[in-house]
């Protein structure tokens, strides 16, 4: 699934009946709502239906379905498959725990102590966007791979070892990469919660005579329980559905994870989609359960509310002699999570094979890899496809998401319809990219429309995957738009559409832009669904990267990725500048 986002909560809820809602003629409104539900339903229900169909038959799509339980039986009676399930659970649990501990500690250091790491929040916002999972795994392969890994070569050189001391191709190697990759996201998960903590609650404990440690133990940590529990669940689900680490590190290490099984079932020749569907059911069930538990954990959030609308600035903890330690920790994490992988990718882009920097190495530097990347198969076309698809997905998803957010927040209508719309729009959160890939694949093989094998299938998958984020971002923007701003315009005599155009859209513009950029970037780096849905002539960036890795062309991969990241970086910088200029008017 799409990785836990920058937002602290992904699910949105329809608020209880609020009197500040706009009235419309009932028939038109109900029809419009029904149409919206149909659109969202079309994105989600038929693919899941296809998944269920696939598990219950042993015939591929397009052939008359032969219902049998053989696919399900086979899927769930192989001992190997339970082994891979267990492995996935272990992997997901280890990464989630590690990620929360480190990410939480970092967020604490930045948000609540006097360490000089203030800017970290900004950097960590960018990193997961600019360094997608596949690149991250590749980077660490180049660092800790047993044969050519640079850190290994370096250690061998310094300590005079005969073989590499650290082997990435191991269970803990997988956990290492998987955890590091998600630490920025865990940081962003906790950071807002820490920043808005009400220190009155802790001060009251201090006034009652508690020691600093007791305050943390009995006040701070219990108050953070919802964030910790829900965070762990989200990262656990993500770990279950992850594909980059299992593919690029797991398989060479001899570990087959659950997500790998699904992938292999689709990609093998002949493709066994029934098996893939049957496997997917377990993953889907696990995700749904996870999201349900997440909802329960965050439901009584009001008991733990540390934010009540007023801006609180939490008390800053003075670190004293721990300050250099904390700062060093932060900088180390920055290295491991961002700088090191990016640097190693950059270095390898210029050399023909992985080696340590040396005079000899510098002599070998050239632009050969870049040229090879430009000529590599569909690499450039894939890049163009990804950019176009990214922009298209961003725009369409934002329009849809904004409409849904507006209806659930501002429209007065039948509560049942509004709640259904809201729940459906956030359902994709529980669907890992892999599941969306398999289900969409199946559905559009069934449907006699020329969507499979074209870019449209990718677009549909991206919209489905990222709709909850668009709804959430536009929803936040709308929630901050005081309803009286719209009412005042109505009182001045403005027609509904004028109000929407001159007040709502104008003030919502920054959120809309954020949504387009966010969804666009996520679509650009999406790989789990893309692998299954891309086809010759309709390649995308992430699939190309995997292709290069598969063929052993790691250095060309690095060159390709360097070029793309540079272009992407420039684009993002331009857009930020434009957004700031545009945003100035909104004050």
């Amino acid at each position: 699934m799409s990785a836990p986002g920058i937002e602290t909560t992904i699910a949105s809820k329809v608020p209880a009946s609020s009197p500040r809602r706009r009235h419309f003629p009932a028939l038109a409104r109900n029809l419009a709502l029904a149409a919206l539900i149909l659109v969202v339903g079309y994105l989600i229900i038929p693919p899941i239906g296809a998944l269920l169909l696939g598990s219950a038959t042993d015939t591929p799509p397009g052939v008359a379905p032969h219902f049998t339980s053989s696919s399900l039986v086979y899927a769930y009676t192989q001992r190997d498959h339970y082994a891979s399930m267990l492995l996935s659970v272990e992997f997901a649990a280890c990464t989630a725990t590690l990620v929360l501990l480190v990410g939480g500690a970092l967020a604490w250091i930045v948000a609540r102590t006097d360490s000089p790491l203030g800017r970290m929040a900004d950097i960590f916002t960018l990193v997961p966007i600019l360094v997608p999972a596949i690149l991250f795994a590749t980077g660490w392969l180049l660092l800790l791979g047993p044969r050519g890994g640079m850190l290994n070569l370096w250690a061998m050189q310094i300590f005079g070892l005969k073989s590499a001391p650290l082997n990435l191709y191991s269970f803990w190697g997988m956990v290492w990469v998987g955890a590091l990759q998600e630490i920025p996201l865990a940081f962003l998960w906790f950071w807002p919660a820490f920043k808005s903590m009400n220190s009155d609650l802790e001060d009251a404990a201090l006034m009652s005579g508690a020691s600093a440690f007791t305050v943390i133990r009995r006040i701070t940590i219990p108050l953070l329980r919802p964030a910790v529990v829900s965070g762990w669940i989200m990262f656990f689900i993500y770990g279950l559905g992850a594909l980059a680490v299992p593919l690029m590190i797991g398989i060479p290490a001899g570990y087959v994870m659950y997500s790998t099984e699904i992938y292999l079932a689709v990609q093998r020749i002949p493709s066994d989609l029934n098996l893939a569907s049957a496997y997917s059911l377990a993953l889907l069930a696990a995700s749904l359960i996870g999201v349900y538990v997440y909802h329960r954990a965050t439901r009584d959030l009001s008991r733990f509310t540390t934010v009540t609308g007023k801006a609180f600035n939490p008390r800053i903890q003075r670190l004293g002699r721990w300050r250099p330690v904390a700062t060093a920790f932060g900088i180390l994490m920055l290295f491991l999570v961002a700088l090191l992988p990016m640097l190693v990718l950059l270095w390898n882009a210029f050399i023909p094979f992985s080696q340590l920097p040396s005079i000899a190495a510098f002599k070998l530097m050239s632009l050969k890899n870049f040229r090879a990347a430009l000529e590599y198969g569909e690499a450039i076309q894939a890049l163009i496809n990804s950019v176009v698809l990214g922009i298209a997905a961003g725009v369409v998803t934002t329009v849809l998401g904004c409409t849904i957010a507006w209806c659930t927040l501002r429209l007065k209508g039948p509560k049942f319809l509004l709640a259904t719309l809201d729940q459906m729009a956030t359902l994709p959160v529980a669907m890992p990219g892999l599941i969306v890939g398999v289900s969409v694949l199946w559905f559009y093989l069934l449907l006699p429309l020329p969507i499979y094998g074209s870019s449209w299938i990718l677009l549909i998958a991206y919209i489905t995957l990222h709709l909850p984020y668009a709804v959430r971002i536009c929803g936040s923007g709308l929630a901050q738009l005081h309803h009286e701003l719209e009412e005042a315009a109505a009182m001045c005599g403005a027609h509904w559409f004028t109000v929407f155009r001159r007040i709502v859209l104008a003030l919502l513009a920054p959120s809309l832009l954020t949504s387009v950029i966010y969804v666009g970037l996520r679509s650009f780096r999406e790989y789990s669904a893309s692998i299954l849905l891309a086809s010759p002539g309709n390649q995308v960036f992430s699939v190309m990267v995997l292709d290069m890795w598969d063929g052993g062309n790691l250095n060309i991969l690095c060159a390709y990725v360097t070029m793309v990241t540079a272009v992407l970086g420039v684009l993002v910088a331009l857009l930020s500048w434009a957004a700031r200029r545009f945003g100035v008017k909104v004050a």
Partner: protein, 365 residues
Amino acid sequence: MITIKHLVKRFDSTSGATLALDDLSIDIEPNTFFTLLGPSGCGKSTLLRCLAGLEHPDEGEITIGDATVFSSAANILVPSNRRNIGMVFQSYAIWPHMTVGQNVAFPLEVQGQKDIRRRTLEALDLVGLSGLDTRYASKLSGGQQQRVALARAIVGKPKVLLLDEPLSNLDAALRDQMRAELLKIQRALNVTTIYVTHDQTEALSMSDRVAVMSKGRFIEVASPQELYSRPRTAFSARFVGGANILEGKAIRDGERTTIDTGLGRLVSAESTQEGSITLFIRLEKIVWLDERNGQGVAREGMNRFTCRIVGRRYAGDTSEFDLSPLDGDQQTLLRCRFPADIAGAPGDTISIGIAPEHVHLLAPH
């Protein structure tokens, strides 16, 4: 000008339906300043928003001028943007992405009117904001934003002006100033004004008529003077002006009435039927009988009591005292106001007097 008939509004919540407006009927004269006064949750804002068209009542009828804007029987509902009403919101609702001039010009633009520039500047002059028309609205102080909201509400020369607690976000000094200015503007424009507040000072100083509301009903509708000196319910007496409410048994005594209360026996200059009665005494009408202190002298027929000072609170120009009668019910507490620099501490025994004409009887509920 405005006629409301049998207006009912219900709100559904998870705990069942609540009646926000309970069968309200009233007539409001043209060009008057009419205030809705009451505690939070009494329905005053809901009523205002029904007049504006931002809430839809469930039953009843609203007529503004010659036009019926709402009728449940005839299924009429004129939307907010066609009622030609000016409204000032509690949060001011100034659009942050527009300048002051653009904010104020907006009604004229969307209604396709002429001469926009001149009329905008004229409205800004009237509220005292000349020269600020190019400033971005979000860069103004609270008081300035409030004036922009007012200018925007009146620029279209509406027939009715609605104000929803416009002064509640301002500090005390600014509030005093704005009260006077609002009144001046209303008189200058001669527009029917409905004002919602929970502050009795605003209600008393600005209004032609005040409607005291509680739980969705009109408790009392009267002029400020009547409301203060002759409130007809204990609720109004307490809400407007602060009062000591006492219960007792009344016995008619010629043209006067004698009431036995927890304070003691009181003689009132008003007459009523015999039996259970509620009465009130304004805080500032209680006289401290102490010639030494420069306070009042006992006069013929005055109700006199000996009390002990139980509490004292300083309030700048006056101090508020809590008194407990030495004879009579120990639980009864009398609140009164005396000059702040008077000598008297908790524990002291003093003599007080209440003139019979200041013992007001309330109509039986």
